[in-house]
């Protein structure tokens, strides 16, 4: 069980059982139904222009055929560079953006195009914590009003709200007296605690965390992550943890999905991603994590990827990563690789996988969560090698 998270959250038998089930299937079909299923989701943003009538001139392929499922009690890490579509997925799940194609199911219920009325009962069960704690709290409102809004929207009496808000403030590590303060009187970490309290108010099942710590100082990041961890244990929460930084999600995630340019590159049990990255892109992301010890830093073999991600308006053919991949060959340029299944429910979409033995490569199968446009070509055994990249983690 490499997927056990290190740290204090091992006392979560229920969550771990379900996590294991989800991982065993690589996705979702067997065992209990996952809490959230995203199937072949595409979210394209039209670019319009025109003098009198807006004409669609291009589309930004923000999310381009992604299939994911999140089991109850699990923490799913979602990682990628800026602009890879990870935030768009989280916003699509929250129904803040409209999906172009595909399906989103919450507890088996299709919510892909659900309107506000249909979403209303579900809002109780899914909440979101936003990236920027300075922008996500209305500067004109008192903390009590901010945290109380979800309660008011879902039918609590005015009188009941204030004691509940005080309780929530205490739960996220703030003072109960802060209920009458304004957001500008708090530090970034405290504001993010307010954001967490707001998400927690309705006792949801799922909390979508959209880069909840990326705007915070490193020491404060750790506090918020510990808080999120404790809350997950207490309230049996399911997290979708979006981050652009692999080091942040390492200790909180059960599984991690790596995205690039709107597509999934790799999905892996959390620890295994760090010890055995299969996709070259993951390896490059791992190389980008700074190591505080310069000696060790010099010793490690780094995979450096240069340049910027290509324009998502016109993504490259074949494997979207081929323009920057040091291992790319002709097949990568023409044929989109499917998500191949490796042991431990580890999926990777690459023609030239790393850190896998020839036997493992031979045993792979195309996973059913592969993009529909992907070819059937599985990685050839010869292409595999056991390069030790990433082993140092």
């Amino acid at each position: 069980m490499t997927q056990h998270r290190s740290g204090p959250e091992q006392a979560r038998p229920l969550a771990n059982v379900e996590t294991t089930q989800a991982e065993a299937g690589g996705a979702s079909t067997d065992g209990s139904a996952p809490l959230v299923e995203v199937e072949h989701l595409k979210v394209f943003f039209p670019i319009k222009s025109g003098l009198f009538f807006d004409r669609e001139v291009a589309r930004v392929h923000a999310v381009n055929d992604v299939t994911l499922s999140i089991a109850e009690g699990e923490t799913m890490g979602l990682v990628g560079e800026s602009g890879c579509g990870k935030t768009t997925i989280s916003r699509a799940i929250m129904r803040l953006v409209d999906s172009t194609e595909g399906a989103i199911r919450f507890r088996g219920q299709d919510v892909t195009h659900a309107g506000r009325r249909r979403m209303e009962p579900l809002r109780r069960e899914m909440q979101m914590v936003f990236q920027d704690p300075f922008a996500s709290l209305n500067p004109r409102k008192r903390v009590g009003q901010i945290i109380g809004l979800p309660l008011r929207l879902h039918g609590s009496e005015r009188k009941e709200i204030e004691p509940q808000v005080r309780e929530l403030l205490a739960r996220v590590g703030l003072h109960k007296e802060h209920v009458n303060r304004f957001p500008h009187e708090f530090s970034g970490g405290q504001r993010q605690r307010i954001g967490v309290a707001r998400a927690l108010a309705l006792e949801p099942r799922l909390i979508v965390l959209d880069e909840p710590v990326s705007a915070l100082d490193v020491s404060v990041q750790a506090q918020i992550i510990n808080l999120l961890d404790d809350l997950q244990d207490d309230f049996k929460l399911t997290y979708l943890f979006v981050a652009h930084d692999l080091s942040v999600v390492r200790h909180v995630s059960d599984r991690i999905a790596v995205m690039y340019l709107g597509k999934l590159m790799e999905v892996s049990p959390a620890e295994e991603l760090y010890t055995k990255p299969i996709h070259p892109y993951t390896s490059a992301l791992l190389s980008a994590i700074p190591i505080p010890d310069p000696e060790e830093n010099r010793r490690r073999e780094r995979m450096v990827v240069s340049g910027e991600p290509p324009n998502p308006i016109n993504p490259p053919s074949g494997c979207v990563f081929h323009t920057r991949c040091p291992r790319a060959t002709d097949v990568c340029r023409t044929l989109e690789p499917p998500l191949a299944r490796y042991p431990n429910g580890h999926l990777a979409a690459c023609h030239h996988p790393m850190n896998v033995s020839p036997e493992e490569v031979k045993a792979t199968e195309k996973d059913r969560t592969s993009p529909l446009s992907a070819g059937d070509e599985l990685p050839a055994a010869s292409g595999a090698n056991g390069s030790g990249l990433g082993d140092g983690h």
């Binding site: 803040l96 909440q127 709290l137 500067p139 004109r140 409102k141």
Partner: protein, 347 residues
């Protein structure tokens, strides 16, 4: 925005008040309004001009008092053939050559008379009532219309935004005065009859309505822009993620962030509306004579500018004082609410 604690202390009178304030702060926090009020309290110039405006309004409100108790005449009463004793001499109110007397600095004809022998001070105060009434009501109507249109256009993408925006653009494309004269003359010719409502041509409602319409785009367009940027902010998204509907978001999430802009704009709008009223009345498209207003009084006085300059100068000076005090106050309010903001009424 950090405030200088020493300055805060100085702004509060005495130690006791300071302690009360500190206690309040501990319990309730310092809201954005409180911070703004503190900054405004430190801006003595803005406060002085604000006081001046209040004084002007109070004087105009008290016009009947002056007319009955001091001047013993009404705003429209002629004294063409009357005489008045000033400093032991008996003078004609309007001389045989048609020149009215200048300021007597006494209760009757304090600021002199006009060519019809009417008391200028009385007319000035009554005219101020009309000018300020038109200005303030027009600014109020403009503000309400602008908030509604700005919120609708800014918050809803698509057809309603396009409709509202192009309507505003059409209004915007006319110079304010030309639009005002055209509307004012057209409406005042035979009054307005819409169903059960009928407004006569000399009613004050017509200049109020005309001025309110003419200024709507100047306020609604910037508000729309602000709503456009606010609706993309994360706190609006957070409200939507919690299931808040568009109306609730518009009025409880977006509107509170607009209040500082609205407050500043409406102060400046009153000044501009008073000016536009004067301009329209001067051109004969605003308040109808013999109803007094500062604009009509200036209009009356212009013909006699060489022989009796006080006829035009006195109402002109009142106009300047009103507009100046409102502008300085508006600037002060803007600086207090958001020191970085750059809100101004553009023409």
């Amino acid at each position: 925005m950090a405030t200088d604690p020493l300055a805060d202390q100085a702004a509060l009178q005495g130690r006791e008040a300071w302690e009360q304030e500190a206690e309040r702060e501990r319990a309730h926090g310092i809201g954005p309004w409180r911070l703004a009020l503190r900054r405004l309290r430190r801006n003595k110039v803005a406060l002085a001009f604000g006081f001046l405006f209040v004084l002007l309004v109070a004087c105009c409100v008290a016009a009947p008092l002056w007319a009955d108790r001091v001047a013993h005449t009404g705003p429209n009463e002629n004294h063409l053939s009357d005489t008045i004793r000033v400093g032991g001499e008996t003078k004609n109110v309007v001389g045989l050559d048609g020149i009215p007397i200048g300021p007597t600095w006494r209760g009757e004809f304090f600021l002199g008379a006009d060519s019809n022998g009417r008391d200028i001070m009385v007319r000035l105060l009554y005219g101020g009532r009309n000018s300020l009434l038109v200005g303030i009501s027009a600014a109020l109507i403009t503000t309400i219309l602008s908030i509604v249109l700005g919120l609708i256009a800014g918050y809803s993408h698509g057809a309603s935004d396009a409709a509202v925006s192009s309507l505003l653009d059409i209004l915007w494309s006319f110079p304010v005065v030309i639009l005002g004269v055209a509307l004012g003359v057209a409406l005042a010719l035979d009054g307005v009859d819409i169903g059960p409502f009928s407004v006569s041509g000399d009613s004050l409602l017509i200049p109020i309505f005309v001025i309110a319409i003419a200024y709507v785009p100047y306020m609604a367009r910037p508000l729309r822009g602000q709503v456009l940027s606010l609706r993309e902010r994360e706190f609006v998204e957070a409200a939507r993620a919690q299931g808040a509907g568009p109306l609730r978001i518009m009025f409880t999430e977006v509107l509170p962030s607009l209040t500082s802009t609205i407050l500043v704009f409406s102060t400046l709008l009153i000044a501009n509306a008073v000016l536009l009223e004067a301009a329209l009345s001067f051109l004969g498209a605003g308040i109808r004579p013999p109803n007094p207003s500062w604009g009509t009084m200036i209009d009356d006085g212009v013909d006699r500018i060489s022989t009796a300059p006080h006829l035009a100068i006195v109402p002109g000076a009142m106009l300047v004082l009103t507009v100046l005090s409102l502008n300085v106050l508006g600037d002060g309010v803007r600086d207090a609410l958001d020191p970085r903001a750059n809100v101004r009424l553009e023409h």
